[in-house]
Symmetry: D2
Subunit: 292 residues, 4 copies
C-alpha cells in the first residue's frame, strides 16, 4: 500500500496526468492498493479543491480490485467530518485519519478518542487511525488505539512512529480482525513477524518488489530472507524519508522512470548532490538491479 | 493588540454577532488594535469560507484608527500567497504569518527565509513574522529574523516562544524601525524594557488594563510598578494559555461579561472545576477589581 | 546476561551477602553471565569504594565459565581510565562503558569516538560500548559504533534506546565478529532475528526462562514461538523499567523469592499498590507459572 | 558570584597554582564571592580527592569577606550527604546542590523535595538549590522551590534554565528572605528587575565589570543603562556557554590574561578558529576596552 506522492509541474501546479500515469505503472507491480493524500501526498500543501481533483484522478486510475485509502489531516473534528462526507461519495474505500495536533499539549488520550469516535460515527466509510508523531508532535498510546478498535467503523491503524514497543503493544491489545499496518519501514519486518497485516511505506513506491518479497518471506517462515531484505530496505527507506524527505522520494521515482517533479515550497526539489547520494544508496542496497 | 478568539455557538457554528459585540466592548478599552485568526483565533479549526466571514465581520466592527492584523497559518507557500491575496482586499492592514511546520525537520533557516520572502513579495499589504514553537515545533533564529527584517514588506515579528534570549537577540539585530512584539506574556515586561514595541498577548483580551498600565509604566521609567504588574500578570496569563488553553481564555471572557462559548473539538469547553480555578487565579492577581 | 541490581539494606547500606546469594540462584538458571554496576546496578548511586566491594563480591559468586561484565559510567575520560585500570585486576572480563553525558550538547560524534578510543587504548581488558539515551540524553550513531568497531579492544555494543532502526543500522555496518547486544527488551526478538548475539535486559533477571527460550526459538527458526514470547515479555519488561524503574525491578525480584530491598534515594521502594500492579502484570504474561 | 572554572595543565592534571592566582586576580575586581565546583567548575570530571584539593585551594585564596559557595552534583542523596559533611569543615559557606538526574523520568517533584530536605537536614551549612535542565534533563517547578524555601537550612536557589517564567514564578512564591540568583545571563537584567538578589554567571568570570554595573544600574533605576548592558552581555555570555562551552570560557579567560588551559576530555580545548570568534564577539560587545 504505497502512500503515493502528489506530483506537481515545475510551477507547482497539480500534474494530474503524471499522477495517473504513475498509478498505471504501479498497478502492474503487484501492490495491493494505494494511500492517496497522506503525509507523502502533501495533503497539507493542497487546497480543498485540489484534494478533490486528486481523489477523482486517483479513482479513475486505480482498478476496483485494489485498495483505495485517502488521507485526512485536520485539526478540528468538524472540518474532518465535512471532508470525509464530501470525499466518500467519490469512491473512497476508507480514510486514513491523522491525529489533530496544532494544540498539541491539549491532545489528551480522551480528546483524541473523542475526535476519532465522532468522526467514525459520521463517516460513510470505515476509517483507519494514523499515528505519526515525528510530524505532529502527538502520539496515541496503545491503550487508546485498543479502545478505539472496538468501534465498528474504525478498522485499523497505521503506526508510523517507528517505536517498536508501540506497535507491539497495539498488536497485543487489539482484536485480530483489526488491521495493523506499519507506517515505518524501520520496523516493517518485525511488525509483520508479530502479526501486522502489511505496510504503508514511502519506500513501497520505489522498492515494491522488496516489500512484497519481505511479506512473502515472513509468511513462508523464511526469516533469513526477510532479515536480509529488512537490512537492505532500511537505508533506502531512510534516504526517501528522514534524510531527504519528499524531495528525496520524488527524486527516487525519477531514477526509476516515474514522474517525480518538485514538492511544493517551502520544501525544495533535490539537487544534484542529493540525487547522487540517493542513487548510490539505491545501488548499494542491491534492490534495484535496473540501476546497476 | 489582543489576539482575539473566534466565538462559536454551542453547536460549534460561527457566532459572528457575538464576535462583533465582543470587539465593540474591546474598542472602548484603549487597546491599539486586534489580531484576528491567530492561534487563539483557532485559524486551524476554520474552513476557508469561515475565515473570510470572520475577517469581514471584524472589519465592520473595528474602527479605522485601530490596527487590524490577520493571522495566516499554512504549510505551503502557495496556499499562503493565495490567502493573503484573497484576504487583503477585505481591508486587512497586515498579516501575521506563521512558520510552515508539518514537515518540521525540513524547515531549515534557508527554507523559512524563502517562504517569508516569496510571501512578502506577493502580499499587497505588509507582513509580520510569527514564531510559536510550542505549537509548531519550529523556531526561527534571531539571525533569520534579522535577515528578513531587511525586506521592505516585512515590518515586524511576534515572538511567542517565551525564550527571552531569542527576543533579546532579535532586538539586538534588527533595525529600530522593525516592530518587535512580545507574543508571550511571560516576557512582556522585559521585552518592553529592552525595546519591544508592544505585545500580542492572549491575556490582553482580559487584562487589557494591566497590559496597558505596564506599557505606560515602562515608558515612564516606573519599573517598580512594571515589575509588580508583570508578577501579577503571569499566573493570569498562564491560566488562559499553557494551563487551560483556549477553553480557559473563553471561560475567562465569560467571567468578564464577554461572550466565550466553546472552542471547536477536539478542544473542550472548560468545566466547572477549571472555571473555579480560573476565577480564583484572576481574583488572586488583584488585576480584576470587578471580580472581588 | 542480566544487568543485575545492587541490593541495599533498609538503611541503604550495601547488602553484599544478599547480592552473592542472588547471584548463586541466578547461576542455576542458565544465564550466560552478568552485567554488574550498569544502570540497573545503580552505578551512579555508589561511592568508588562501594563499587570495588560490589565487583569483588560478584567475582567470588560468579563461576569462571560465566561472563562477568562491569559497568563504567563517568563524564571524564580520565576518571574512566583510572577506573578500568583499578577494577580490571579484580577479575573483570570486560567493561560496559557508557557515553559521557553531563555536557550533552557538546557530545559530538568525534568527541564520543575520542573518549572510547582513548579508553580502549588504556584498558587492560576489552570494552563494550553502551548507548542509553533515555538516561543520558546522548545517543551514538550507527556510523560512530561502526567506526569504533574497528578498534581491537572494543568488542561490542549494548544498544538500549529501543530505536530499532539504530540496532538495524549497527548490525548492517559492523563486522560479524563484533558483538551486538540488545539492551532494550522492546526490540529483543527482532534484534536477535537480524543477528544480535543476545540481550542485556533488566527483565532477564526475572524472566530468564522466557529470554533464553526466545533465543532458542529464534535459532531454531521457530518464529511463532519467538513472537509469542516477545508479546508476553514486553509488558513485564515495561513494568520493571519505564513504568516502575529499579524499584519495580527489585519488587519483582522479591515476588520470585530473591532479595530485592530498596533502591537508594531519591528513588523510592515500591509501595503496595505498585507491587500489586507488578504482580498482576507478571501473572497476566503467563511467563511465571509459580505466581499463578 | 562567578562560577569559576577548575584549571588543568596540558596533561589534564589539576593546576592549583593557577587556580589560586586566578582567584587572586578576581579578588580585586569587586565580585562578591565565588561558586567553586559548579557545572563550569567541571565537578563531574573530578575525583573525590581532587574535589577536596580544589576546595582547600579555594579556601586559602578567597578572603573571608567574600562568599564561598561549593557545588554538589550527585545522583544519590546518600553520596550528597557524605560529601557536604566532609567538605563543610574545610570552610565552605554554603553548598549549591544540583538536582539528581540520571534516572530522570523518576525525578518527581516529591522525590526532588525529599532529596533536598534530607540533605538540608544533614548539612552543617546552608544549601542553595540548583536548577539547570539543559545539563540534567530535570527541572524543578516554582512550587517545589517555594515549598523547599520554608526549610530553615535552604536559603536560596540558582535558576539556570533561562526560562523567565520560572524565575518569575519563583520570585512570586518565595519569601523575600530567600535568595534567588539568576544562573543564566540571558535573563540577568529582568531577574534583577523583578527582585533577584544577583547572578551566578559564567560570563561573570570575564565581564565582571558589566555584571556589577548592571546590578548597580538596576538599583539606581537606570534602566536605559541596564538594558544596554544586557544587550551587550548576551552574545558574550552565549559564546562562553551554549556556543563554545567550558572550552570557550577558558579561552576567554586567556584573552584577558588569566590562566585558561584545557577542559578535561571528552571536552576539547578551543582551536584557533573558535578563539578568533570569541575574540571578535568580545570586541563587538564594547565591554572589553582592553581588547580593542
Amino acid at each position: 500500500l504505497p502512500p503515493i506522492p502528489t506530483p506537481f509541474h515545475a510551477d507547482e501546479s497539480l500534474a494530474l496526468d503524471s499522477f495517473r500515469s504513475n498509478i498505471e505503472r504501479w498497478n502492474m507491480t503487484g501492490v495491493s492498493g494505494y494511500v492517496v493524500l497522506g503525509s507523502n501526498g502533501e495533503f497539507v500543501h493542497l487546497s480543498p479543491a485540489e484534494r478533490k481533483l486528486v481523489v477523482e484522478a486517483a479513482r479513475t486510475a486505480i482498478p476496483d480490485d485494489l485498495h483505495f485509502i485517502v488521507g485526512c489531516t485536520f485539526n478540528s473534528t468538524r472540518e474532518s467530518v465535512k471532508y470525509v462526507q464530501e470525499m466518500a461519495p467519490l469512491g473512497v474505500e476508507a480514510f486514513l485519519v491523522n491525529t489533530p495536533f496544532y494544540y498539541r499539549s491539549e491532545m489528551t488520550a480522551e480528546r483524541l478518542a473523542g475526535h476519532f469516535t465522532r468522526l467514525a460515527d459520521a463517516s460513510p466509510v470505515p476509517i483507519l487511525l494514523y499515528n505519526i508523531p515525528q510530524y505532529t508532535g502527538v502520539s496515541m498510546t496503545a491503550e487508546t488505539v485498543a479502545e478505539l478498535s472496538q468501534h465498528p467503523n474504525i478498522v485499523g491503524v497505521k503506526e508510523s512512529s517507528g517505536q517498536f514497543s508501540l506497535v507491539t503493544n497495539i498488536l497485543r491489545l487489539v482484536p485480530e480482525s483489526f488491521t495493523v499496518l506499519s507506517g515505518s519501514a524501520s520496523v516493517f519486518y518485525p511488525a509483520l513477524a508479530l502479526g501486522a497485516r502489511g505496510g504503508v511505506l514511502a519506500v513501497g513506491s520505489l522498492a515494491w518488489r522488496a516489500c512484497l518479497d519481505l511479506m512473502t518471506a515472513v509468511r513462508a517462515n523464511d526469516h533469513v530472507r526477510a532479515g536480509d531484505l529488512q537490512l537492505r530496505l532500511l537505508p533506502v527507506a531512510e534516504a526517501v524519508t528522514t534524510r531527504f524527505g519528499i524531495a528525496g522520494l520524488k527524486a527516487g521515482l525519477e531514477l526509476l522512470g516515474f514522474y517525480g517533479g518538485p514538492p511544493r515550497a517551502p520544501l525544495k526539489e533535490a539537487d544534484q548532490s542529493v540525487r547522487a547520494k540517493i542513487k548510490s544508496t539505491f545501488q548499494a542496497s542491491g534492490l534495484f538491479p535496473e540501476l546497476e
